[in-house]
Amino acid sequence: MRNNTVSMNLNLKIWRQKDGKDKGFIEDYRLDGVSPDMSFLEMLDMLNETLIREGKDPVAFDHDCREGICGMCSLMINGQSHGPEAETTTCQLHMRKFKNGDTIVIEPFRAKAFPVLKDLIVDRSAFDEIIAAGGYVSVNTGNAQDANTLPISKINAELSMDAAACIGCGACVASCKNASAMLFVSAKVSQLSLLPQGQIEAEARVQSMVNKMDELGFGNCTNEAECEASCPKGIDISNIARMNREYLTASVKSQE
């Protein structure tokens, strides 16, 4: 769809923070001539080019693929993770969703487990630690097998695939009022426990991943579903329910 507005003038309120120890503050910027066809990150690139030309420190933000698949981009845009659009990453959000003259507040994802490194960049390695605690299959599955030697029900294959769509961006933690990581962890737990290869270690996995999540200081879920609403990949909170019941049964059956 062509947008008739030639260009937009924006007021930006951006979180600036030198490093992890700095207190940080909101700085106001004025950016003129933004094309509605730009992505949100291209708009930030444009701002940074201006800042560099003026000899100022550009705004640090995370990004990589810029096509909604890597999960590197983040940002709280006007108080919502990845901005106002449903199932959209920041890199896939277009400026045509905003109006000329708008004020846009841009902050980093906030959680105790996601400390700010600089400006809008946060350290999300807590997610890697959770994966390292059990988010894998350690049995050797050998070479690729013939098709259909391992029967999997269609429903489970699809549910597992849906859960595997998680790109680990952390938007769920950022938008949760409790900074809980339940949606992320439950997606990883579900993705593996729904498949026969993952079932062998399912009980140990859910326990160690949840214990790791708690240890890292994420909050407790209160079933508000803001995570699901802000998830760029539309991960469903039924995964959280699955993890809840798997954790409960695994704890009861545990040999420890």
């Binding site: 309120k13 979180w15 940080g24 909101i26 709280m76 006007n78 108080g79 919502q80 106002p84 449903a86 507040v105 902050e107 906030r110 959680a111 105790k112 487990a113 700010v116 938008s175 009022k177 409790n178 900074a179 809980s180 339940m182 949840v210 214990n211 999540m213 708690d214 200081g217 994420f218 909050g219 407790n220 879920c221 209160t222 079933n223 508000e224 579903a225 803001e226 995570c227 699901e228 609403a229 802000s230 909170i237 039924s238 959280i240 329910a241 699955r242 993890m243 809840n244 019941r245 798997e246 954790y247 409960l248 704890s251 545990s254 420890e256």
Partner: protein, 224 residues
């Protein structure tokens, strides 16, 4: 063994599950309390005899102890979870907006509606259980005239309004809590999700209307 038990009980998931189970048990109490109190519509004798039968049974102490244990588990966990959740985000957002696709008024006000209910319960016990003690005899059995306490209390419109406000908060609390308990325990299935959510809302409305009708009825009696 002990350390496993401790880890499980303090895990974020089991804490929420205990919260849900105690909440559901409290819902059961609410329902029985409301249905029992409906005997007031049959007049003072039916209501007072009901209260007398309940309180003169020695098992009431066991039941009350159980209820207290459930209540304090729910309350204690609520305080603990709220504190932990606050710690989980030490630096707050400059601007935070809900998406409009997830949380609702009931879900985002749970600690506040819970607090209102807590204050209400304390006052409720002071006003009724530990309130004025009148006696009345039916068929030569002397018993407490709780009916009169109730009628006198609700002669004041302020008491009626506060009661309805508190019960409304309770209804809002329950409308999220009931469904939420099932989600925490692990019940979530496209086949019955709709029924769960609808039951949650219907139960909340039933409880709110049922309890609200009582002070209004008493008020309309004009203090006698």
């Amino acid at each position: 063994m002990v350390s496993h038990f401790k880890k499980v009980l303090t895990s974020s998931i089991v804490k929420k599950q205990l919260m849900g189970v105690t909440g559901l048990l409290l819902c059961g109490f609410l329902l029985s309390h409301m249905l029992g109190n409906c005997l007031m519509y049959l007049g003072p004798e039916a209501f007072n005899t009901y209260a007398y039968t309940l309180t003169s049974n020695k098992l009431i102490y066991v039941a009350e102890a159980g209820l207290l244990a459930i209540f304090f588990t729910h309350l204690g966990l609520a305080i603990r979870l709220t504190i932990e959740n606050n710690i989980a985000r030490p630096v707050k957002y400059y601007m935070k907006q809900n998406s409009g696709r997830g949380s609702n008024f009931a879900s985002s006000t749970m600690p506040y509606t819970g607090l209102i209910v807590l204050i209400f319960i304390v006052l409720h016990l002071i006003n009724f259980k530990y309130g004025p003690y009148y006696t009345q005899a039916y068929n030569n059995v002397e018993m407490r005239d709780l009916y009169r306490v109730m009628i006198e209390h609700f002669a004041s419109p302020l008491n009626v309004l506060w009661y309805i406000f508190a019960v409304l908060s309770l209804g809002i609390h329950v409308s999220h809590g009931f469904w939420s308990a099932f989600q925490s325990i692990g019940f979530n299935h496209p086949k019955y999700n709709c029924i769960l959510k609808c039951t949650s809302k219907a139960f909340a409305i039933f409880i709110t209307l049922g309890f609200s009708a009582m002070p209004i009825y008493c008020f309309l009696q004009g203090g006698h």
